[in-house]
Symmetry: C2
Subunit: 352 residues, 2 copies
């Protein structure tokens, strides 16, 4: 079967791999219906994160349960399921508190699980999922109906990008009548816009220099677009809102984007950050203290959000699948990466 | 009249100063009934913060309104008032959002206001208070009755230390049935214990190595005491709570205390920090991201909390005045500093 392996910078291959199988009683094997490429997948692709040895890549999928270990009762063979991008044990304190992404035994795609057993990347035809009992989320609608309604892309976003945008908004204390600035116009930022609107924000400013992304952001709920950056960006936000924002969503992960997010919120405001930190700077404690800011975030506890967001996807209230602007067969995964790397696409959906 | 001036390391003097007077329509002159020494006053006292030129010191007082500018209607001459440690304009975005300590024109004791006019330290017989309209909080009980009931020390704590302990707890998302670790057993930490209990915490662990402070902390609401520090402290918390804490209150301001606070909370937990950062470290973004922590805090917006806490002081529900373990006349302010510096006292109340 086909599975995606990264071998080094700009060397991502859909190659023939052995079929996965259930290895523990808490496993599932999922036949992938749709997967996709994440902005964070571009870091090893670009060499920003070194690839020491070839490994499976991709961490977003929806699919059909083909095989289950004996302990798994949360889904049935044949169910169409959403699989969050990280796997939590479901039993530790962080999992029980609703933060499976901070699980004591948190496990990811593309390496080994906590028993040392292999886990493929999600950009594959089939994947073994560990901690399946606490991970799988069945969708209570038949797959053919979901496909007919075009809902599969939106459901796929719940595995990561929409849950991550939602986490940024929740971590930034977005609520009714708050003013929000979204830093980042990638797929996560666009989902942050959707989340902020869904949570009742009165003004949603997206910082974007790409006309197409800004236009999509407006369709998804952004009320304003700011193209300026740095101090000019802060001034533009201040002008638009008649002051600074209550909340900022940091959806990039660079030092500059965090500085921007901290700069656009008022004293006592909140920054939710979900961009995986890939700069060298720490969080400036004196600035945060002096301006009484709140900062929170991290890897989204997607599993904990999926049911809530799923209801809104199924009802059509939100359409996060619109962040995909290119669909390719899994066999063309190398082109998917290239298209995102070269900014020819915001986010690419893959069909095995 | 007597007022306290710091001249340099370990050189704090109660000296004769000119009487202050109303200089703008938004001023008040307060006759000080009680003031006190803050842990943060010890930094210039110890030379940790340099004193470039002599200036007034002290930022906590309660007193009687003696004179008012023409624009001040929030208090009357003769009122007994609580004065928060920072003065906010009451009009800017941060003030209106409930964060006067992050006011665009935030003004402090012991220097100059935004008009360049002098402000004495609070450890004085009388002080001119700028931004009086948005700063003064009258207490609706006659002073003689408050003195008879021994409530003046507790009311004095609302000017800073109790409001600050409350801010730590609020910033750490303390609520009903949360488990809390308080890092720091000084007056702020002890007030953090009171605040955590008041907000409904089910377990309150104070990290303390001082038997007397630990004993007082237990009387104020701490359920457990941990003497260990660092990894041993984390292990002790884990043992006591059967896991890590939901919330930590960082009430010291050193790199080590922040590291401790971040270490004792579970994945997805919250740290409220009110210790003025006086170490060299920034906040570790990767640790916060990886464990999905929330961090918030800063200088307490005391003005915004005082009414709420005042009701509980007047009812006797909380007794934050118990953090004072020494009372001296203002003339002996040098001894007050020495007693706190040498840890002979936790917090010293001064009577002009």
């Amino acid at each position: 079967m086909l599975g995606t392996v990264i071998h080094g910078p700009r060397d991502v291959r859909a190659q023939d791999l052995p079929e996965p199988s259930v290895l523990t009683p808490n496993d599932a094997v999922i036949r992938v219906v749709a997967a996709c490429v994440c902005g964070s997948d571009l870091w090893p692709y670009r060499g920003t994160t070194p690839t020491r040895a070839p490994h499976g890549i991709g961490h977003e999928l929806v699919g059909v349960v083909e095989e289950l270990g004996g302990d798994v009762t949360s889904a049935k063979v044949g169910d169409f399921v959403i699989v969050p991008f990280s796997f939590g044990c479901g039993e530790c304190q962080a999992c029980l508190a609703g933060y499976p992404s901070a699980c004591d035994r948190v496990t990811f795609y593309g390496g080994q699980d906590r028993d040392g057993l292999p886990v493929l990347g999600a950009q594959s035809a089939r994947v073994r999922i560990p901690f399946a009992q606490s991970t799988l989320v069945p969708v209570p609608v038949p797959l053919d109906e979901l496909e007919a309604k075009g809902l599969v892309p939106s459901l796929l976003t719940l595995s990561d990008v929409m849950s991550t945008g939602h986490h940024a908004a929740v971590s930034a204390n977005v609520g009714p009548d708050t003013t929000v600035v979204v830093v980042g116009d990638g797929a996560v930022g666009l989902c942050g816009v959707i989340a902020a609107k869904r949570l009742g924000a009165s003004r949603i400013v997206i910082m974007s220099r790409h006309e197409d992304r800004a236009a999509l952001a407006r369709e998804l709920g952004a009320t304003d677009v700011v193209a300026e950056r740095g101090a000019d960006g802060v001034a533009a936000v201040r002008e638009l809102l008649g002051g600074l924002a209550d909340c900022a969503l940091e959806c990039v992960g660079t030092d500059v984007s965090m500085e921007q997010a901290l700069g656009v919120v008022r004293g006592g405001g909140s920054v939710g950050f979900v961009g995986v930190p890939n700069g060298g700077a720490e969080l400036p404690i004196r600035q945060i203290f002096g301006r009484n800011l709140h900062v929170g975030g991290g890897m989204a506890p997607a599993r904990a959000y999926i049911e809530e967001l799923l209801a809104d996807v199924l009802s059509g209230a939100i359409e996060p699948g619109r962040v995909f602007d290119l669909t390719l067969p899994l066999a063309e995964v190398a082109e998917a990466y290239a298209a995102m790397d070269e900014r020819r696409a915001t986010k690419v959906l893959l069909r095995p």
